[in-house]
């Protein structure tokens, strides 16, 4: 059969065209615009004049920017690895169950993930309410008095991190479960014939074989948590916005509240670069480790 190469290429281009167009219009073009905007003093709406690197100089001198960077890093540290480890642990426990029991338990863990963030916020804000929240019973048993958790500065980020893990770990459990199921039972059987104990089985078989999934979960988590916004924005209402500020929140307040579109774009570019550098770096490192 004679293949018409040119025709095939044309069809291929035609087929990817819708994606390329959507990608170009909805992602690439706005990204270019954002970078351009970061070199201007534009307000929220409309053009500004070109001011070169001034926004970037300002950013490096900006206390608030560094607070946002620090808080974001702190939040990432509190969520990414714990969320992954908890996901793995629960997945391993769930994988021991069979049939409807497994489905039921899995559904219970997955349920919070489908809730919108505003519902999650309401739920936890209510449970932590200083006057009548159910969690005030254990809190007062430990601390001796009721504590307004989301108004206490040092408790704020850990509390939001806790809520976030509760909310999102269901998805990680699913990914890990899929990974665990792909490990052949034969290997475990061989290991038990060799009298390997549980810890050895986990360390020598499960952990290495599930590593690719772990690397994926860690990377997805890293990207997601670097972009944290909604939970912090909701929980900080009526509290202290500045000391708890994260990067996306800072971009939001610059652009929408302070009418500084250009400077907001500058911080957005910084976040963009951080996300790319760290996620690529992390994924490469993790992959390298997995291949050794």
């Amino acid at each position: 059969m004679i293949r018409n190469y040119r025709r095939e290429v044309a069809v291929a281009y035609l087929l990817i065209l819708p994606f390329v167009l959507t990608y170009g219009i909805l992602f690439l073009w706005p990204t270019i615009q954002m970078v351009y905007l970061s070199f201007t003093d534009a307000p929220l709406i409309g053009p500004g004049s070109w001011i070169g690197l001034e926004n970037y100089y300002e950013m490096f001198d900006d206390r608030r920017f560094w607070t946002a960077v620090r808080n974001t890093a702190y939040f990432v540290a509190l969520t990414v690895i714990p969320n992954t480890l908890i996901g793995l642990a629960i997945a391993m426990m769930v994988s021991r169950l069979k049939g409807w029991q497994q489905s039921l338990i899995l559904a219970m863990f997955f349920l919070p993930y489908i809730l919108p963030v505003s519902v999650v916020y309401r739920l936890w804000n209510w449970m932590f309410n200083i006057q009548f929240g159910i969690l005030q019973y254990p809190i007062s048993a430990i601390a001796g008095e009721n504590i307004n958790v989301f108004r206490t500065q040092w408790l704020f980020t850990p509390a939001v991190a806790l809520v976030t893990i509760w909310w999102t770990c269901g998805f990680n459990i699913l990914l890990f479960l899929a990974g665990l199921r792909s490990i052949s039972p034969d290997i475990y059987e061989a290991a038990s014939l060799d009298n390997a104990n549980r810890w050895t089985i986990f360390r020598r078989i499960t952990w290495p074989l599930i590593w690719p999934v772990t690397a994926l979960v860690l990377t997805i988590q890293l990207i997601l948590q670097l972009k944290i916004f909604d939970q912090v924005y909701l929980f900080v209402q009526g509290g202290r916005p500045d000391p708890s500020m994260v990067m996306v929140q800072y971009i939001y307040s610059l652009a929408f509240q302070k009418n500084q579109g250009g400077y907001g774009a500058t911080v957005a570019v910084a976040l963009f670069v951080i996300v790319i550098v760290f996620s690529v770096l992390q994924f490469q490192l993790l992959r390298a480790r997995g291949e050794k």
Binding site: L44, G46, R63, I130, R151, G238, G239, Q257, K258
Partner: protein, 426 residues
């Protein structure tokens, strides 16, 4: 037959041209009033539509209060998709002018519908201006007031013969009064002590009573001579919490509940909670006699923070307003001011002087008791950084609230707030 068609055609043309001459104007309206005052505003809109049947119809939409509203106004005006008229906080006029979202309303336009500077209190009218040009027409003045529980005050011997509280003026007297009230209530004074709203309004009132300058002419926040006054204001507020008279770290809703449940004898909050009290009392669910007076004079002279709801016209880019539409919008603005007595039911003080000076308003309680506020009002500093849901509000949440709750000293709070705002202004 031909004749018949001719007549038919002619009469159609005639009918069409008459229709055009009496064309009904639809005025697209945005507001952010969703509480008790929203209900009262809707009733006013309905009344307007009935009175202007066949001429002007208002098509109202209520949007989310605060930052979302002001963002939407800016973005929609920039692409010509804004409403024809909208409610607007006068404290946010500097932002609207800076971002080009507001259209100027000329003196001639206003004169055409009988509105001018003389029909409003001077400070109120000027709050709608930027560089001497009018961008918003005031509709009301709203402020904070002191709600009181008559039964508790009488019990503590703080009620005068006229049924009004006595002995509350002066920071020290006020503390002494709180001490007396402590005998009849665990939390004598309730106010929001977490976040930005009430803390800002009380702070700005206390600063105004000492003639403190929040933002100097040269763009300096808290000029040197103001700092001790600002510190004194914050210390006074903190002393209420520290002494155990006001609840610590309390959200807005909880502060209202403390008063309506009869727990607190005094409550500091905006006039917009008047409908809450009126409605509860009418249903017989309040359980005590209530009243409201202007905030006591803690320092040198009376002064109270105030803001205004006003009307503004968005500067819809690329969509020129027709003269007919503009006439309709101006008619809306003047009609609402002329009929603003009904708006007083929402607790607000009408901005329109003929209404404010009318007999009906003078006898309307509790508004009449605190209507002196129109003369002693101190409006938010004129800056794009100030006003409702602005960076100044954020700064209050970041520094003044923590200082009220004893998490930092008043001096630290003011120093930090000054540095923070100056940093954002430069």
């Amino acid at each position: 037959m031909q004749k018949f068609i001719k007549i038919a055609l002619l009469s159609t043309v005639a009918a069409l041209s008459i229709g055009a001459a009496q064309a009904q104007e639809n005025v697209v309206w945005w507001d952010f009033l969703s509480g008790g005052d929203g209900v009262r505003m809707k009733a006013l809109i309905e009344q307007f539509n009935t009175e202007h049947e066949g001429e002007i119809t208002i098509q109202p939409t209520t949007l989310e209060w605060g930052t979302p509203f002001y963002t939407k106004v800016q973005t929609s005006a920039a692409i010509g998709e804004g409403p024809d008229v909208m409610t607007y906080h006068l404290s946010r006029v500097p932002l609207g002018v800076e971002s080009g979202a507001l259209a100027e309303i000329s003196t001639e336009d206003l004169a055409g519908v009988g509105l001018s500077a003389d029909t409003f209190a001077a400070a109120n009218w000027e709050a709608g201006q930027s560089d001497g040009k009018q961008y918003a027409v005031p509709f009301d003045i709203h402020s904070i007031i002191l709600y009181y529980n008559k039964d508790k005050l009488a019990e503590a011997g703080l009620l005068g013969e006229d049924g009004k509280p006595t002995g509350l003026d002066g920071a020290e007297n006020f503390m002494a009064a709180l001490e007396k009230l402590k005998a009849v209530s665990d939390t004598p004074l309730s106010l929001q002590t977490s976040g930005d709203g009430t803390p800002w309004r009380v702070f700005y009132s206390l600063l105004g009573q000492q003639d403190g300058v929040f933002l100097g002419e040269d763009g300096t926040f808290f000029p040197d001579e103001t700092i001790p006054k600002a510190v004194k204001a914050v210390e006074t507020m903190a002393s209420w919490v520290e002494g155990g008279y006001a609840p610590a770290l309390t959200e807005y809703e909880n502060s209202v509940a403390l008063f309506t449940s009869g727990e607190s004898a005094l409550h500091m909050n905006g006039v917009w909670e008047v409908p809450t009290m009126t409605d509860l009392a009418a249903k017989g669910e309040l359980g005590f006699e209530w009243g409201a007076i202007a905030i006591p004079t803690f320092f040198d002279h009376p002064a109270t923070w105030a803001d205004s709801h006003g009307f503004a016209i968005p500067n819809n880019v690329g969509k020129e307003m027709t003269p007919e539409k503009k006439a309709a919008v101006l008619e809306v603005i003047s009609w609402f001011n002329e009929n603003s007595l009904a708006w007083a039911d929402a607790g607000h003080i009408p901005a329109y002087s003929p209404t404010r000076e009318s007999e009906e308003f003078k006898t309307k309680e509790p508004n009449a008791t605190y209507s002196i506020l129109a003369d002693t009002a101190v409006f938010d500093p004129k800056s794009p950084l100030a006003g409702v849901a602005s960076p100044v509000y954020d700064a209050v949440a970041n520094y003044i609230s923590p200082a009220m709750n004893g998490e930092m000293t008043a001096q630290e709070a003011i120093d930090e707030m000054k540095a923070d705002l100056q940093d954002q202004a430069d």
